[in-house]
Protein backbone atom coordinates (compact mmCIF):
# COMPACT_ATOMS: atom_id res chain seq x y z
CA UNK A 1 0.00 0.00 0.00
CA UNK A 2 1.57 3.16 -1.17
CA UNK A 3 0.37 6.57 -0.18
CA UNK A 4 0.18 8.17 -3.61
CA UNK A 5 -0.41 11.80 -4.40
CA UNK A 6 -1.68 12.32 -7.94
CA UNK A 7 -1.17 15.83 -9.30
CA UNK A 8 -3.27 16.29 -12.40
CA UNK A 9 -3.03 19.36 -14.63
CA UNK A 10 -5.07 20.03 -17.74
CA UNK A 11 -7.55 22.86 -18.32
CA UNK A 12 -9.99 20.88 -20.46
CA UNK A 13 -12.18 18.13 -19.03
CA UNK A 14 -12.53 15.34 -21.57
CA UNK A 15 -8.98 15.83 -22.83
CA UNK A 16 -6.74 12.84 -23.37
CA UNK A 17 -4.91 13.69 -20.16
CA UNK A 18 -8.18 13.58 -18.20
CA UNK A 19 -8.73 10.05 -19.54
CA UNK A 20 -5.23 9.14 -18.39
CA UNK A 21 -6.05 10.54 -14.94
CA UNK A 22 -9.22 8.43 -14.68
CA UNK A 23 -7.43 5.28 -15.82
CA UNK A 24 -4.55 5.76 -13.41
CA UNK A 25 -6.68 6.64 -10.37
CA UNK A 26 -9.03 3.73 -11.04
CA UNK A 27 -6.22 1.21 -11.40
CA UNK A 28 -4.28 2.39 -8.37
CA UNK A 29 -7.36 2.52 -6.10
CA UNK A 30 -8.27 -1.01 -7.14
CA UNK A 31 -4.77 -2.28 -6.46
CA UNK A 32 -4.30 -1.28 -2.86
CA UNK A 33 -2.88 2.21 -3.20
CA UNK A 34 -4.13 5.01 -1.03
CA UNK A 35 -4.71 7.75 -3.59
CA UNK A 36 -5.19 11.45 -3.06
CA UNK A 37 -6.04 13.27 -6.26
CA UNK A 38 -5.32 16.93 -6.80
CA UNK A 39 -6.82 18.59 -9.86
CA UNK A 40 -5.13 21.99 -9.91
CA UNK A 41 -7.36 23.53 -12.56
CA UNK A 42 -10.58 22.32 -10.94
CA UNK A 43 -9.43 23.73 -7.59
CA UNK A 44 -8.57 27.05 -9.21
CA UNK A 45 -5.06 26.87 -7.80
CA UNK A 46 -3.20 30.16 -8.27
CA UNK A 47 0.21 29.32 -9.77
CA UNK A 48 1.60 32.85 -9.48
CA UNK A 49 4.27 33.28 -6.83
CA UNK A 50 3.72 36.91 -5.85
CA UNK A 51 6.28 39.42 -4.63
CA UNK A 52 4.81 39.22 -1.11
CA UNK A 53 5.08 35.46 -1.07
CA UNK A 54 8.59 35.59 -2.52
CA UNK A 55 9.55 37.78 0.45
CA UNK A 56 8.57 34.85 2.70
CA UNK A 57 11.02 32.53 0.93
CA UNK A 58 13.16 31.86 4.02
CA UNK A 59 10.33 31.75 6.55
CA UNK A 60 8.60 28.62 7.93
CA UNK A 61 5.45 27.27 6.24
CA UNK A 62 3.23 28.71 8.97
CA UNK A 63 3.55 32.10 7.25
CA UNK A 64 1.61 30.68 4.29
CA UNK A 65 -1.53 29.12 5.82
CA UNK A 66 -3.29 29.14 2.43
CA UNK A 67 -0.88 26.39 1.33
CA UNK A 68 -1.29 24.26 4.47
CA UNK A 69 -3.15 21.51 2.62
CA UNK A 70 -0.39 21.23 0.01
CA UNK A 71 2.21 21.00 2.74
CA UNK A 72 0.24 18.29 4.50
CA UNK A 73 -0.07 16.31 1.25
CA UNK A 74 3.63 16.60 0.49
CA UNK A 75 4.60 15.37 3.94
CA UNK A 76 2.04 12.57 3.84
CA UNK A 77 2.80 10.90 0.51
CA UNK A 78 5.31 8.19 -0.36
CA UNK A 79 4.97 8.73 -4.08
CA UNK A 80 3.85 11.47 -6.45
CA UNK A 81 2.35 10.83 -9.86
CA UNK A 82 2.27 13.89 -12.12
CA UNK A 83 -0.20 13.75 -15.01
CA UNK A 84 0.11 16.67 -17.43
CA UNK A 85 0.67 17.70 -21.05
CA UNK A 86 4.17 18.86 -22.02
CA UNK A 87 3.99 22.35 -23.49
CA UNK A 88 6.99 24.21 -24.88
CA UNK A 89 9.13 21.27 -23.81
CA UNK A 90 8.28 21.61 -20.12
CA UNK A 91 5.71 21.58 -17.34
CA UNK A 92 2.55 23.67 -17.81
CA UNK A 93 2.77 26.97 -15.93
CA UNK A 94 0.06 25.71 -13.57
CA UNK A 95 2.23 22.79 -12.47
CA UNK A 96 5.46 24.76 -12.38
CA UNK A 97 3.68 27.33 -10.22
CA UNK A 98 2.48 24.62 -7.85
CA UNK A 99 6.09 23.49 -7.40
CA UNK A 100 7.38 27.09 -7.12
CA UNK A 101 4.89 27.84 -4.35
CA UNK A 102 4.53 24.62 -2.36
CA UNK A 103 8.01 23.06 -2.39
CA UNK A 104 8.98 25.57 0.23
CA UNK A 105 11.49 26.12 2.99
CA UNK A 106 11.33 23.49 5.79
CA UNK A 107 8.94 21.38 3.69
CA UNK A 108 11.01 20.44 0.65
CA UNK A 109 14.38 21.86 1.68
CA UNK A 110 16.45 23.81 4.18
CA UNK A 111 19.32 26.16 3.48
CA UNK A 112 21.96 25.94 6.22
CA UNK A 113 23.55 29.28 7.09
CA UNK A 114 26.35 30.22 4.69
CA UNK A 115 25.64 27.39 2.24
CA UNK A 116 24.61 27.88 -1.36
CA UNK A 117 22.99 24.53 -2.03
CA UNK A 118 19.79 23.46 -0.33
CA UNK A 119 19.37 20.20 1.64
CA UNK A 120 16.49 17.74 1.11
CA UNK A 121 13.52 17.48 3.47
CA UNK A 122 10.99 15.33 1.58
CA UNK A 123 12.67 12.06 2.51
CA UNK A 124 9.22 10.43 2.78
CA UNK A 125 8.95 10.45 -1.02
CA UNK A 126 10.48 7.37 -2.67
CA UNK A 127 8.88 7.42 -6.11
CA UNK A 128 8.20 10.15 -8.65
CA UNK A 129 6.30 9.25 -11.79
CA UNK A 130 5.57 11.61 -14.65
CA UNK A 131 2.85 10.65 -17.10
CA UNK A 132 2.86 13.12 -19.96
CA UNK A 133 1.99 13.71 -23.60
CA UNK A 134 4.12 15.48 -26.19
CA UNK A 135 2.76 16.99 -29.40
CA UNK A 136 6.16 16.64 -31.04
CA UNK A 137 8.24 13.56 -31.71
CA UNK A 138 10.79 12.01 -29.39
CA UNK A 139 13.54 13.24 -31.72
CA UNK A 140 12.48 16.89 -31.43
CA UNK A 141 12.23 16.56 -27.65
CA UNK A 142 15.70 15.05 -27.47
CA UNK A 143 17.05 18.02 -29.45
CA UNK A 144 15.40 20.37 -26.99
CA UNK A 145 17.01 18.50 -24.11
CA UNK A 146 13.80 17.39 -22.35
CA UNK A 147 13.66 20.29 -19.86
CA UNK A 148 10.40 19.10 -18.29
CA UNK A 149 11.74 15.61 -17.68
CA UNK A 150 14.82 16.95 -15.98
CA UNK A 151 12.93 19.28 -13.67
CA UNK A 152 11.21 16.19 -12.26
CA UNK A 153 13.91 13.55 -12.47
CA UNK A 154 16.72 15.78 -11.22
CA UNK A 155 15.77 19.18 -9.83
CA UNK A 156 12.93 18.15 -7.53
CA UNK A 157 14.02 14.53 -7.05
CA UNK A 158 17.10 15.59 -5.10
CA UNK A 159 14.74 17.03 -2.45
CA UNK A 160 13.21 13.57 -1.93
CA UNK A 161 14.56 10.38 -0.40
CA UNK A 162 18.10 9.38 -1.37
CA UNK A 163 16.75 6.21 -2.94
CA UNK A 164 13.90 7.97 -4.71
CA UNK A 165 13.37 6.70 -8.24
CA UNK A 166 11.90 8.83 -11.00
CA UNK A 167 10.06 7.18 -13.86
CA UNK A 168 9.10 8.84 -17.13
CA UNK A 169 6.05 7.54 -19.02
CA UNK A 170 5.46 9.63 -22.12
CA UNK A 171 3.37 9.44 -25.24
CA UNK A 172 5.38 11.27 -27.89
CA UNK A 173 3.98 12.69 -31.13
CA UNK A 174 0.36 12.73 -29.96
CA UNK A 175 -0.48 15.26 -32.70
CA UNK A 176 0.22 12.59 -35.32
CA UNK A 177 -0.97 9.59 -33.33
CA UNK A 178 -3.87 7.35 -34.28
CA UNK A 179 -6.86 6.54 -32.13
CA UNK A 180 -5.45 3.03 -31.76
CA UNK A 181 -2.15 4.41 -30.37
CA UNK A 182 -3.99 6.43 -27.77
CA UNK A 183 -6.32 3.61 -26.80
CA UNK A 184 -3.37 1.31 -26.34
CA UNK A 185 -1.72 3.89 -24.09
CA UNK A 186 -4.89 4.23 -22.00
CA UNK A 187 -5.37 0.48 -21.72
CA UNK A 188 -1.99 -0.14 -20.12
CA UNK A 189 -1.27 3.15 -18.35
CA UNK A 190 -2.66 2.14 -14.96
CA UNK A 191 -0.54 -0.95 -14.89
CA UNK A 192 2.58 0.89 -16.02
CA UNK A 193 2.19 3.49 -13.29
CA UNK A 194 1.58 0.78 -10.68
CA UNK A 195 4.74 -1.00 -11.80
CA UNK A 196 6.70 2.23 -11.54
CA UNK A 197 5.46 2.64 -7.96
CA UNK A 198 6.61 -0.82 -6.86
Amino acid sequence: MTKTLVIYVHPVEGSFNSCVRDAVVKYLSKHDHEVRLRDLYAENFDPFLSANERALHHTPPTTRPELARDVEHLRWCEAIVFIYPTWWSGLPAMLKGWIDRTWMNEVAWVLPAGANTIRPRLTNIKRLVAVTTHGSSKFVNALQGEPGKRIISRSIRVMCNKLCRARWIALYGIDNSTLADREKHLATIGQRVARALR
Binding site: P47, F48, W87, K96, G97, Q144, R150
Partner: protein, 202 residues
Protein backbone atom coordinates in the same frame (compact mmCIF):
# COMPACT_ATOMS: atom_id res chain seq x y z
CA UNK B 1 16.23 47.24 -34.09
CA UNK B 2 13.04 46.36 -32.16
CA UNK B 3 14.04 44.86 -28.85
CA UNK B 4 11.56 43.18 -26.50
CA UNK B 5 12.75 42.73 -22.92
CA UNK B 6 10.72 40.55 -20.56
CA UNK B 7 11.04 40.46 -16.78
CA UNK B 8 10.02 37.22 -15.04
CA UNK B 9 10.62 38.22 -11.41
CA UNK B 10 7.59 39.28 -9.33
CA UNK B 11 9.32 41.94 -7.18
CA UNK B 12 10.28 45.34 -8.52
CA UNK B 13 13.01 45.67 -5.86
CA UNK B 14 14.71 42.35 -6.67
CA UNK B 15 18.22 41.98 -8.07
CA UNK B 16 16.67 40.53 -11.23
CA UNK B 17 14.59 43.68 -11.70
CA UNK B 18 17.73 45.77 -11.23
CA UNK B 19 19.46 43.88 -14.06
CA UNK B 20 16.35 44.34 -16.19
CA UNK B 21 16.13 48.10 -15.62
CA UNK B 22 19.82 48.56 -16.41
CA UNK B 23 19.48 46.68 -19.69
CA UNK B 24 16.51 48.87 -20.63
CA UNK B 25 18.48 52.03 -19.81
CA UNK B 26 21.52 50.88 -21.77
CA UNK B 27 19.46 49.99 -24.84
CA UNK B 28 17.38 53.16 -24.74
CA UNK B 29 20.54 55.25 -24.81
CA UNK B 30 21.21 53.79 -28.29
CA UNK B 31 19.25 55.71 -30.95
CA UNK B 32 19.17 52.65 -33.24
CA UNK B 33 16.96 50.62 -30.90
CA UNK B 34 13.30 50.81 -30.06
CA UNK B 35 12.73 49.04 -26.76
CA UNK B 36 9.55 47.41 -25.43
CA UNK B 37 9.73 46.51 -21.75
CA UNK B 38 7.32 43.85 -20.48
CA UNK B 39 7.07 43.51 -16.72
CA UNK B 40 4.78 40.50 -16.39
CA UNK B 41 4.08 40.89 -12.67
CA UNK B 42 3.38 44.64 -12.94
CA UNK B 43 0.97 43.95 -15.76
CA UNK B 44 -0.72 41.29 -13.61
CA UNK B 45 -0.30 38.94 -16.56
CA UNK B 46 -2.42 35.84 -15.95
CA UNK B 47 -0.11 32.87 -15.35
CA UNK B 48 -2.14 29.83 -16.32
CA UNK B 49 -3.73 29.30 -19.72
CA UNK B 50 -7.49 29.13 -19.19
CA UNK B 51 -9.91 26.47 -20.39
CA UNK B 52 -11.33 28.83 -23.05
CA UNK B 53 -7.83 29.70 -24.25
CA UNK B 54 -6.81 26.07 -24.43
CA UNK B 55 -9.88 25.30 -26.54
CA UNK B 56 -9.09 28.31 -28.77
CA UNK B 57 -5.47 27.14 -29.05
CA UNK B 58 -6.60 24.32 -31.31
CA UNK B 59 -8.42 26.71 -33.65
CA UNK B 60 -7.27 29.27 -36.26
CA UNK B 61 -7.91 32.15 -33.82
CA UNK B 62 -6.08 31.29 -30.61
CA UNK B 63 -5.66 34.83 -29.27
CA UNK B 64 -8.81 35.65 -27.34
CA UNK B 65 -7.69 38.14 -24.70
CA UNK B 66 -6.47 41.72 -25.05
CA UNK B 67 -3.24 41.11 -23.18
CA UNK B 68 -2.17 38.18 -25.35
CA UNK B 69 -3.14 40.04 -28.54
CA UNK B 70 -1.06 43.03 -27.52
CA UNK B 71 1.98 40.89 -26.69
CA UNK B 72 1.63 38.87 -29.89
CA UNK B 73 1.76 42.05 -31.96
CA UNK B 74 4.93 43.14 -30.22
CA UNK B 75 6.51 39.71 -30.81
CA UNK B 76 5.76 39.76 -34.52
CA UNK B 77 7.70 43.02 -34.83
CA UNK B 78 10.65 41.99 -32.66
CA UNK B 79 14.22 41.66 -33.91
CA UNK B 80 15.55 40.60 -30.52
CA UNK B 81 14.04 38.92 -27.46
CA UNK B 82 15.68 39.36 -24.08
CA UNK B 83 14.49 37.34 -21.08
CA UNK B 84 15.48 38.34 -17.55
CA UNK B 85 14.28 35.93 -14.87
CA UNK B 86 15.25 34.00 -11.75
CA UNK B 87 15.83 30.27 -12.24
CA UNK B 88 13.55 28.38 -9.86
CA UNK B 89 13.63 24.59 -9.67
CA UNK B 90 16.05 24.70 -12.61
CA UNK B 91 13.37 26.21 -14.86
CA UNK B 92 11.39 29.28 -15.75
CA UNK B 93 9.14 30.90 -13.14
CA UNK B 94 5.54 29.84 -13.77
CA UNK B 95 4.45 33.28 -14.96
CA UNK B 96 7.09 33.39 -17.69
CA UNK B 97 6.28 29.83 -18.72
CA UNK B 98 2.62 30.86 -18.87
CA UNK B 99 3.55 33.77 -21.11
CA UNK B 100 5.04 31.31 -23.62
CA UNK B 101 1.96 29.08 -23.43
CA UNK B 102 -0.53 31.90 -23.89
CA UNK B 103 1.24 34.12 -26.44
CA UNK B 104 3.45 31.77 -28.49
CA UNK B 105 0.54 30.23 -30.39
CA UNK B 106 -0.51 29.48 -33.97
CA UNK B 107 0.05 32.53 -36.15
CA UNK B 108 2.59 33.93 -33.70
CA UNK B 109 5.28 31.37 -32.96
CA UNK B 110 4.41 28.83 -35.61
CA UNK B 111 2.21 28.20 -38.61
CA UNK B 112 1.28 25.21 -40.74
CA UNK B 113 2.60 24.85 -44.27
CA UNK B 114 0.56 23.45 -47.18
CA UNK B 115 1.30 19.90 -46.08
CA UNK B 116 0.09 20.57 -42.55
CA UNK B 117 3.60 20.54 -41.08
CA UNK B 118 4.60 22.96 -38.33
CA UNK B 119 6.89 25.76 -39.49
CA UNK B 120 8.53 28.57 -37.51
CA UNK B 121 6.78 31.91 -37.71
CA UNK B 122 9.08 34.17 -35.71
CA UNK B 123 11.75 34.45 -38.38
CA UNK B 124 11.91 38.16 -37.63
CA UNK B 125 13.64 37.34 -34.32
CA UNK B 126 17.40 37.35 -34.91
CA UNK B 127 18.55 37.25 -31.30
CA UNK B 128 17.43 35.36 -28.24
CA UNK B 129 19.21 36.54 -25.12
CA UNK B 130 18.69 35.11 -21.65
CA UNK B 131 19.84 36.59 -18.37
CA UNK B 132 19.18 34.53 -15.28
CA UNK B 133 20.01 34.47 -11.58
CA UNK B 134 20.73 31.11 -9.95
CA UNK B 135 20.75 30.31 -6.25
CA UNK B 136 22.93 27.28 -6.98
CA UNK B 137 26.57 27.21 -8.04
CA UNK B 138 27.47 26.68 -11.72
CA UNK B 139 28.45 23.00 -11.29
CA UNK B 140 25.16 22.15 -9.61
CA UNK B 141 23.18 23.92 -12.33
CA UNK B 142 25.03 21.93 -15.02
CA UNK B 143 24.48 18.66 -13.15
CA UNK B 144 20.74 19.20 -12.80
CA UNK B 145 20.59 20.79 -16.28
CA UNK B 146 19.67 24.36 -16.95
CA UNK B 147 16.12 23.65 -17.99
CA UNK B 148 14.96 27.26 -18.34
CA UNK B 149 17.86 27.94 -20.67
CA UNK B 150 17.01 24.87 -22.74
CA UNK B 151 13.40 25.97 -23.06
CA UNK B 152 14.37 29.39 -24.37
CA UNK B 153 17.45 28.64 -26.46
CA UNK B 154 16.24 25.33 -27.90
CA UNK B 155 12.45 24.97 -27.76
CA UNK B 156 11.65 28.64 -28.49
CA UNK B 157 14.67 28.85 -30.81
CA UNK B 158 12.98 26.29 -33.06
CA UNK B 159 10.25 28.86 -33.75
CA UNK B 160 12.65 31.54 -34.94
CA UNK B 161 14.85 31.82 -37.99
CA UNK B 162 17.71 29.52 -38.90
CA UNK B 163 20.20 32.30 -38.33
CA UNK B 164 18.91 33.39 -34.94
CA UNK B 165 21.79 33.76 -32.51
CA UNK B 166 21.53 33.03 -28.82
CA UNK B 167 23.45 34.49 -25.91
CA UNK B 168 23.34 33.57 -22.25
CA UNK B 169 24.36 35.41 -19.10
CA UNK B 170 24.03 33.76 -15.71
CA UNK B 171 25.03 34.76 -12.20
CA UNK B 172 25.45 31.65 -10.03
CA UNK B 173 25.39 30.99 -6.27
CA UNK B 174 23.65 34.33 -5.87
CA UNK B 175 23.08 33.96 -2.12
CA UNK B 176 26.82 34.00 -1.48
CA UNK B 177 27.75 36.64 -4.08
CA UNK B 178 29.22 39.91 -2.86
CA UNK B 179 27.75 43.30 -3.69
CA UNK B 180 30.73 43.97 -5.97
CA UNK B 181 30.17 40.79 -7.95
CA UNK B 182 26.53 41.71 -8.39
CA UNK B 183 27.35 45.23 -9.56
CA UNK B 184 29.94 43.94 -11.99
CA UNK B 185 27.53 41.38 -13.42
CA UNK B 186 24.92 44.06 -14.09
CA UNK B 187 27.37 46.39 -15.79
CA UNK B 188 29.00 43.63 -17.88
CA UNK B 189 25.68 42.18 -18.92
CA UNK B 190 24.27 45.50 -20.12
CA UNK B 191 27.46 46.24 -21.99
CA UNK B 192 27.66 42.83 -23.68
CA UNK B 193 24.04 42.95 -24.77
CA UNK B 194 24.46 46.41 -26.27
CA UNK B 195 27.57 45.23 -28.10
CA UNK B 196 25.90 42.11 -29.45
CA UNK B 197 22.90 44.00 -30.80
CA UNK B 198 25.01 46.85 -32.12
CA UNK B 199 27.11 44.55 -34.27
CA UNK B 200 24.17 43.06 -36.09
CA UNK B 201 22.21 46.26 -36.62
CA UNK B 202 25.04 47.66 -38.70
Amino acid sequence: MNVVVVLGHPSADSYCAAIFERIILALESQPSHSVTAIRLADEKFVTAISTAERVAYETATPLISDETKRHAEVLLQADALIFVYPTWWSGLPAQLKGWLERVFVLGVAFRFNDNGKIRPNLQNVRHIIGVSTYGSPWRYVKLINDNGRRTLTRAIRMSTGLRTRTMWRGIYALDTCTQQQREKFIADTAEKIVKRLEKSSR
